[in-house]
Amino acid sequence: MDTRNDIKTFILENFMLGRNREELEDSVSLLDMGIIDSTGILELVEFVEKSYGVKIEDNELVPENLDSIDNLVTFIGRKTA
């Protein structure tokens, strides 16, 4: 399973409805760019938990883990290792 590609597809299909797909760079802040809002973050968390069979703990709900594709890939890699 290509984590990076799956996450990117999920974000494109759910949060980039009115945006050009080229704007989605792996390192940009999803919150700062307005790609994901607060509801979107929760959708993203649910997607990660269901797709990778992991449980995200309360103290892991921080931008350092969730706020860019790079951060998400690293975080999921750590959780599934």
Partner: protein, 638 residues
């Protein structure tokens, strides 16, 4: 023109003509049923008026004007306006306690004077086209002259997708203007100018020694008097009863003035998440009212939405006006023309969550790295269906926006603006180019009171909420327009200017006591309302949004309005982007759809309906028969 707005006043039709001016009137007869016909003139026929609304203190003003020697021929409030204009000139609106929009034509010098009430309860639109000026309660009347261009104003649309409304004088139609609340207008020698005569003014310092009980006592006395004035009518007056505090206050106060049962009206939703009927029944039983209810389903919202857009004449980002459109229909079915409602209490006395959020965000902004300051947000949403940490994370993410902009005049509204503006992501490149670098966020910051920067953060938020959402959306799209659609007039005791001015003087900490909203109002009404109502957690009025349009029996117009061909013809929204949004809305249940997606869908659908009805497929209304009009034609010289 009159026929296009005959829904507002189906009781009588009148017209006045001379070589320079024509005035028309569709009257909803409420005061002086027998002699209050319009247009109406003064004793010598020099001043002619067309008026929509009520001057509640007309009896007192008439007595005062009679002392100055003015002679009256009718018992109407309309005639009081004419004489008040003779007596006090352009300062006359300052004397009126009411909800009004009127135009006075001076035959002698061929000038016009028009005015609108302080908070914009009654609408007044205008347009200059060629050498003509047009005035009307609704834009559709102006469009009855086919030579008037009907074009979308992209900047107006950009404002709606920032603030939920346009900033007057702009509307979403190019060249058509709205007179701003608290303003009057003159046309002299073909030159039109507007002037502000009233604005909310908050102090920069407060009386810290005066007790909340003392403020509550004054507020109670004023509310009683405000309701007394708003019961002046020659037809029966009913009341909306939402189950919340504000309409319970107004209904309880009506009871002071009548021995008969009050007739109350409310909305119930099939969807339990929005339904407040248990509280409505509790309050109706407590007050002993004859209660009437209209039940609103998802299908009802979809079916009635096009009519709501036709009446609102601007795009919406929520469906909430639709159930109120149905409610006014229920009122009319029971042969009522007038209802009192609790609108305005939240803005004037600190009821909205937005105000609490503003104070928490301001407190948080002083130490943005604090872990516990934003936890106060969780107190605002105790019923959020998320576990503790997730709820906190959600709220922090949402509300930390703009934390560094505490000096911005719109600081209080940044989270709402950030959500609403996402709709603009769906604009076509052409639409974006038409808007250019126009700054909609600045549009409500024009002409701010001189001490605004020194006001308390709650006061600034209140001011902005009244200027934007109350005036342009709650009193308009969700107020006058959907009530007038069924010839119903709403009256608003909390928007008596004396109550507003008192509300401004009451210190912020008596309005929001900690995070307890409308504290001084609850104190004022504690003897008259049950604790279950005064201590109830506030439930904001909302209606089901986009899922209303994705049910099995969805009306055909939805597919037509959002078809690729139609979207491309309108040229406002990118058809590919809209297709993705529709796909997401149809895939996900309502519970999983964000505010942003919901607002985007409603905003796009309502814009397409508006463009279709007023620009692309525009049809003239059937003219009324000439026989139904009472006509005055004045050819005499003065």
């Amino acid at each position: 023109m009159v026929s296009s707005i005959s829904h507002r006043g189906p009781d009588e039709f009148g017209a006045y003509f001379d070589d320079y001016c024509a005035l028309g009137q569709a009257r909803l007869s409420i005061i002086d049923l027998s002699t209050g016909s319009q247009p109406l003139c003064n004793e010598d026929g020099r001043l002619w008026i067309s008026f929509n609304g009520e001057i509640f203190n007309y009896i007192e003003l008439r007595e005062e004007l009679e002392k100055y020697g003015h002679k009256f021929r009718t018992r109407s409030d309309t005639e009081v306006i004419v004489h008040a204009f003779e007596q006090w000139g352009t300062q006359c609106p300052e004397r009126f306690n009411g909800q009004f929009a009127f135009v006075i034509y001076d035959r002698k010098n061929r000038s016009l004077f028009a005015a609108r009430d302080r908070t914009g309860i009654r609408p007044l639109m205008y347009c200059r086209h060629g050498d003509r000026f047009y005035f009307a309660s609704e834009i559709k009347a102006i469009f009855c002259d086919p030579s008037v261009p009907r074009k979308l104003d992209f900047r107006g649309l950009d404002e709606v997708f920032t603030w939920w409304t346009t900033a007057p004088p702009r509307t979403v139609f190019e060249g058509v203007n709205e007179l701003e609340a608290g303003h009057y207008l003159t046309v002299v020698n073909a030159k039109l100018s507007t002037h502000r005569y009233w604005s909310m003014q908050f102090p920069t310092e407060y009386d810290r020694d005066r007790s909340v009980d003392s403020w509550a006592e004054e507020l109670h006395a004023l509310l009683v008097d405000s309701v007394r004035l708003r019961l002046r009518a020659d037809v029966p007056v009913g009341a909306y009863l939402s189950g919340g505090l504000d309409s319970s206050v107004t209904t309880a106060l009506i009871k002071k003035f009548t021995d008969t049962k009050v007739e109350t009206f409310s909305i119930a939703f099939h969807d339990k998440a929005y339904d407040e009927s248990a509280y409505q029944k509790q309050m109706a039983d407590f007050l002993g009212t004859n209660h009437h209810q209209v039940r609103c389903s998802l299908d009802d919202i979809a079916e009635n939405f096009p009519s709501v857009i036709y009446h609102a004449e601007k795009p919406l980002v929520r469906t909430a006006p639709t159930p109120l459109f149905m409610l006014s229909g229920l009122v009319r079915q029971h042969n009522f023309k007038v209802v009192l409602t609790g609108e305005g209490a939240d803005e004037i006395l600190g009821g909205y969550d937005l105000f609490k959020e503003t104070l928490i965000r301001k407190f948080w902004a002083r130490n943005p790295d604090s872990a516990w300051r934003p936890m106060l947000l969780k107190k605002l949403y105790p019923t959020l269906p998320l576990s503790g940490a997730r709820a906190r994370f959600y709220l922090e993410t949402f509300y930390k926006a703009g934390l560094s902009q505490t000096d911005a005049y719109y600081f209080s509204h940044i989270p709402r603006i950030n959500t609403t503006t996402r709709i603009k992501d769906f604009f076509t490149d052409d639409a974006k180019a038409a808007i250019g670098d126009y700054d909609s966020i600045a549009s409500f910051g024009v002409d701010l009171p001189k001490d605004f920067d020194r006001w308390h953060h709650l006061s600034r938020a209140q001011f902005l909420e009244v200027r934007s959402l109350l005036s342009g959306y709650l009193l308009s799209s969700q107020g006058d327009r959907v009530a007038a659609a069924h010839a119903v007039e709403g009256r608003f005791p909390f928007l008596d200017h004396r109550v507003i001015e008192l509300g401004c003087r009451i210190p912020p900490w008596h309005k929001l006591f900690g995070l307890k909203e409308k504290y001084v109002l609850k104190k004022a009404m504690r003897a008259e309302l049950p604790k279950e109502i005064t201590q109830r957690v506030k439930q904001p009025y909302m209606a089901p949004d986009s899922n209303s349009f994705f049910q099995d029996k969805r009306p055909a117009y939805i597919g037509e309005m959002l078809s690729e061909a139609n979207l491309k013809k309108s040229g406002v929204f990118n058809a590919d982007f809209v297709a993705r949004l529709i796909d997401k809305c149809s895939r996900l249940s309502h519970a999983h759809l964000s505010f942003k997606d919901n607002m985007s869908f409603i905003g796009i659908l309502s814009t397409q309906l508006l463009l279709n009805r007023f620009i692309e497929q525009y049809t003239m209304p059937e003219p009324l028969s000439v026989e139904v009009f009472t006509v005055w034609k004045d050819e005499s010289t003065l």
